[in-house]
Subunit: 388 residues, 2 copies
Amino acid sequence: MTGSPMRGFPEAEFAARTEHAQTGMAAAGLGGLLLMTEAEVRYFTGFHTLFWQSPTRPWFVFVPPVGKPVAVIPEIGAELMRSTWLDDIRTWSAPCPDDDGLSLLTELLAPMAQAGKTIGVMKGHETALRMPLGDYERLVAGLPGLSIADATALIRGLRMVKSDREIEKLAHICAIGSRIFASVPELAHEGQPLEDLFRAVRREGLALGADDVPYLVGGADQGGYRDVISPPSRRPLANGDILMLDTGAVWDGYYCDFDRNFAIGTADDASRRAYDVLWRATEAGLDAARTGATCRQLFQTMQAVIAELDDQGGDVGRLGHGLGMQLTEWPSHAAFDHTVLQENMVLTLEPSLSYGDGRIMVHEENIVVRKDGPELLSERAPRDLPVI
Amino acid sequence: MTGSPMRGFPEAEFAARTEHAQTGMAAAGLGGLLLMTEAEVRYFTGFHTLFWQSPTRPWFVFVPPVGKPVAVIPEIGAELMRSTWLDDIRTWSAPCPDDDGLSLLTELLAPMAQAGKTIGVMKGHETALRMPLGDYERLVAGLPGLSIADATALIRGLRMVKSDREIEKLAHICAIGSRIFASVPELAHEGQPLEDLFRAVRREGLALGADDVPYLVGGADQGGYRDVISPPSRRPLANGDILMLDTGAVWDGYYCDFDRNFAIGTADDASRRAYDVLWRATEAGLDAARTGATCRQLFQTMQAVIAELDDQGGDVGRLGHGLGMQLTEWPSHAAFDHTVLQENMVLTLEPSLSYGDGRIMVHEENIVVRKDGPELLSERAPRDLPVI
């Protein structure tokens, strides 16, 4: 692709991430971080593979108090891990149900256990334990003296603020996302099964330079859609449908995540009004998305506009979120989230509402918070509900 | 797509799965199963969505000793879950970091805790805990009297043997996979960056009727590739390259997973020999993949042929695996796996070897074990290394 950024990151970026983590670890009294999820392993090493889709093998990275991270991984990943900046790569022939990395981890962590230290593991909101729970329990039981603390806040704080190179990748995939949506009026037509449109949109995304379009959801129904997480049906698009497409396309491991609404043939008044309210709610969000504001304030600002039409809220649980190596990341634009917006956070603004007889509508834009206000990474949705 | 099977499953299939689970629960002394991973939730409910790609919200299904499963899920999924066979759907407005389903789960499980019962959670090989570990620990601590047992063996036993309708979906996507690979000689050419070929292969898969091609890995290098899990580079295909493409395409939530090797322009002798050994190892696997044989025997049979060229083994850890709703499922064709092959297991045969100076080669076919022997779901790879 002409105009694509460079893939990957220079070693200095991984070194800086690791040093920032180590500063946080020292402040939190942590003797190390044991990480095992795709985004965290990639964040500290650059190890980038689709192989995470196989649930069979666990992968571990240990961030020590000083120096480079240590990889404890299946042998099948050794060649790729050796291409990263890491030096200490310990492997085993996996799968091995009786000992899938546990001996290697125990050897690594035993000195810390003997010294009565605490290590961090991600145990908090929006995390999962990507190893068998039984193995985790065995590992901990085999390391008496070792304390485990929740490292979610530390990692969250690092990952929420993006580097220039991360933003460059995110801007690139968001621009591709905008071009995908710009082509929808040519790809969609009355009588077309929604399933076929989804396939055409995915193909278009690949043609426009996305590495993949792993996430594509949406809906279409007369006078509005009712569900935003279903796979597409074979129901043909019909005059009077409101169509929504929400895409997570990916480039070099970074996502865009925004949606667009369209009317097929004609737009009903209720849907046009819902669109107008959401467009203005987004505008209010853009005004409010400034450094120093909180996610809670951003939520309240958008919700105040949404309340013109819908005072229920809550269905979707939030009005946007962070964006990066994952389709959805911390923070959440929700009443519970007091995160203060900082420069170089990449966020979605995602106001939604219910209207009519159980219809819903969702808008979404992607932004980066800059010193002097938000910068749109997605091309702003049209002012009025577009009719195809 | 003409000739596609029906999407989804009739209610009777979910009822049968649930009854089989309940029989196993009774035998194992389990008062219920608490499940939270995509494949298990879909297996018992039919709940099918790409929304699992967002790590933000946990989803729970509880299988009681009798009757239909109970869903405890974020409100955003309520409409879709109501379209399944379930009656009891309990929701909360998620995300809610302070109480992401825990109150609802506690209410559901409290009677079992009070009665000192045991419930099953998946804690074993090839599983993960798809909820925050901290929340899991809080949940268990809040239910004194409740015992947690590992339900992996029970679920594994159910999911490894596929129903006719599951096999129909797997056969369909494998046939699409075969057509994708048949088109590679037209899609690939000397001078083409591997990244562009990957994009073309994904587009072709969608055009041929795959819902998506989420997994596509491979490699290409002079006289053989060295790594099978990397993303594609921008290195152009060159005369003398050995190219491997391994694809997981998906239709209605079921995967194919097989690969093909090609030589670009000319094939070197070492690669042709490696190909021949792997082709024969696959043939031996096809002879051996009969009901009553074990995965260990299947492994040993293939390994005996591979040993003609490579006696190391172990790099990849196994020579094939189960296939279904996940790209890789239990069992493993490995020395540690004594699983007895049963009728209607769907498996990959995936012999691999190292040769020359750090090259590797991998073959893969997809089969269903029938009463009288294996049936190929993938179109058998050509006898000799094809040259493009």
